[in-house]
Amino acid sequence: MTAILEGRNIVKTFTTRRGGQKHEVRAVGDVTVAADRGEIVGLVGESGCGKTTFSRILIGIETASSGTVLHDGKPVATKADWKALRRDVQYVFQDPYTSLCPTMRIGEALAEPLLVHGIGDKSERAERVREALSLVGLQGFIADRLPSQLSGGQRQRVSLARALMIRPRVLICDEIVSGLDVSVQAQVLTLLTELQASLGLSLIFISHDLRVIRYLCDRVVVMYRGEIVEQGPVERVFGAPESDYTRGLLAAIPDHSRRGEPRLGLRPAGHEGARLA
């Protein structure tokens, strides 16, 4: 089966200057990840592992130093290719406070992607806005509100609704539940699984929280310092991790369901350098 979206052998280097010297930082080094139809792929890793940079390359916000993005198996090369890709792939950002325009009413913000892609007339757009709001479990009157009048959970639902407006086949979600309270996070995760099942969406879900990845994803890709250290079905990676890094990451997770086993970082050996009198 051809993947809907694939980043193949993606490399990204940034150049920084420090004290007049040029330094090359390899943020992503030869990473290949593909998402099939209806599949939820998790990208997990700690700050600076390159997961966000890689996902931004997939949608063209960032340009790869080398490597190819493939859309339905065909390399994305021209401006028209990118436009077609963005018609199919939408990106949901971590922070709905900064990704929604503070002076634009929710209804306008939701209709904007339709205007950009030239979809529908005024009444059709209004209808699609109502549909999208109900899809994410919000009432119609929300359309008249400003982002500042909504709670964090409502705002993240609006961001999701906005990404769904043009009926994409793939959603890239970058840490979209990390800023939310646990009970709101559960509501958004439940919504994502419902949307995935009813719309057959594919998700590329980026998170540093392995508990969320374990719950939501079919397949997981573990990244460290710009490279993939392990990938596979979640049951396998979480049940029998092959790399030491994944094992360390799993051992570092606080988990109220786990009994008696100390976390890796809590063992004296993992508690780097603390010297107590």
Binding site: E46, S47, D181, Q187, A252, P254, D255, R263, A274
Partner: protein, 332 residues
């Protein structure tokens, strides 16, 4: 809890003026922390957990008013303290570690100097002595090469190292109680584990008491002896950590545990989110704070009276009408 707790927070209310009367962001909350013990306060946004912490340091922002039976610290009532007395306690006996070390540290000053300043504010020592103390506490928190790297500015340090500096700053005057407000929230899991390990060793080896505030119940068994669950300004459940996690007895605590994915969860066993959202403080009124989202409301009770504490055994208490009426079977 030890027989003579170092800190007793007794029936404390923190109110802000609202359009229709005072809004109680902390409503008649009590807790105690024994010396060398750690109390974990768990709650979501708006639960009042951070405000309770601020009351412990006398830094509740105006026009908030703190009232109640008292905040007893080693026998003294801090609620009756003058601003001058507070200055002696704050930073010296009770110190705070904030959520965001980038915001808690002065960006224009090397980190070592910030510790030196704190030491000299509380103790009459020379700069050289204060510097030795800074190096000592940086060593204690596992800050590498403190003699050299204490000259670094906060921006030159990683998030984990910045949080170590923030903890060193709190340790500088040898406090007996550290209040950590979401101190590990924005850190990567491996760094989070290190910081929790560090706090735990401070507790176990130096006998420092800790109030550890978090929204993540999963962290409670890592560091806590006791846990207090807060919802919308109210304390709803408290007890030894393992008791509360093994036999959660308040519908909110149960809902919170069912909402949190664990390493064993998968889509085959869907999460059970708590429906609805936290009510506005002026909507709570006289009844049980969780009633608008509660699956097991006792009609005629929950909307008219605040539940009292009911003992669940093993030092574990819950404030719930349903539990008081039907026991654990009624809430599950």
């Amino acid at each position: 809890m030890s027989a003579d707790p170092a800190l007793r927070f007794e029936h404390v209310t923190i109110a802000f003026p609202g359009a229709e009367g005072p809004l109680k962001v902390v409503n008649d909350v009590s807790f105690a922390v024994g010396s060398g013990q750690c109390l974990v306060i768990v709650g979501e946004s708006g639960s009042g957990k951070s405000m309770a912490c601020q009351a412990l340091l006398g830094i509740v922002p105006a026009p908030g008013a703190v009232s109640g039976q008292g905040i007893f610290w080693e026998g003294r009532d801090l609620l009756k303290s003058s601003a001058r007395d507070w200055m002696k306690v704050r930073g010296a006996e009770i110190a705070m570690v904030f959520q965001d070390p980038a915001a808690a540290l002065n960006p224009l000053m090397p980190v070592g100097r910030q510790i030196v300043d704190v030491v000299r504010a509380h103790r009459s020592v020379t700069r050289a002595e204060a510097e030795r103390r800074a190096i000592e506490v940086l060593n204690q928190v596992g800050f590498p090469e403190p003699e050299r790297r204490m000259r670094a500015y906060p921006i030159e340090l990683s998030g984990g190292l910045r949080q170590r500096v923030a903890i060193a700053l709190a340790l500088a005057c040898g406090p007996k109680l550290i209040v950590a407000d979401e101190a590990t929230t924005n850190l990567d899991v491996s760094i989070q584990a290190q910081i929790i390990g560090l706090l735990r060793s401070l507790k176990e080896e130096l006998g420092i008491s800790i109030v550890f505030v978090t929204h993540d119940l999963g962290l409670a068994p890592e560091i806590g002896d006791e846990v207090l669950v807060m919802y919308a300004g109210h304390a709803v459940e408290r007890g030894p950590v393992r008791e509360v996690l093994d036999r959660p007895s308040h519908p909110y605590t149960i809902g919170l545990l069912n909402s949190a994915p664990t390493l064993e969860s998968s889509r085959a066993h869907p999460l059970k989110p708590i429906p609805g959202q936290v009510p506005a403080l002026d909507e709570i009124g006289a009844g049980a704070p969780f009633r608008s989202r509660c699956p097991v409301v006792v009609s005629g009770r929950c909307d008219s009276a605040k539940p009292d504490w009911t003992a669940c055994g093993g030092g574990h208490f819950v404030a719930c009408h349903r539990f008081a009426q039907d026991g654990i079977g009624g809430v599950q």
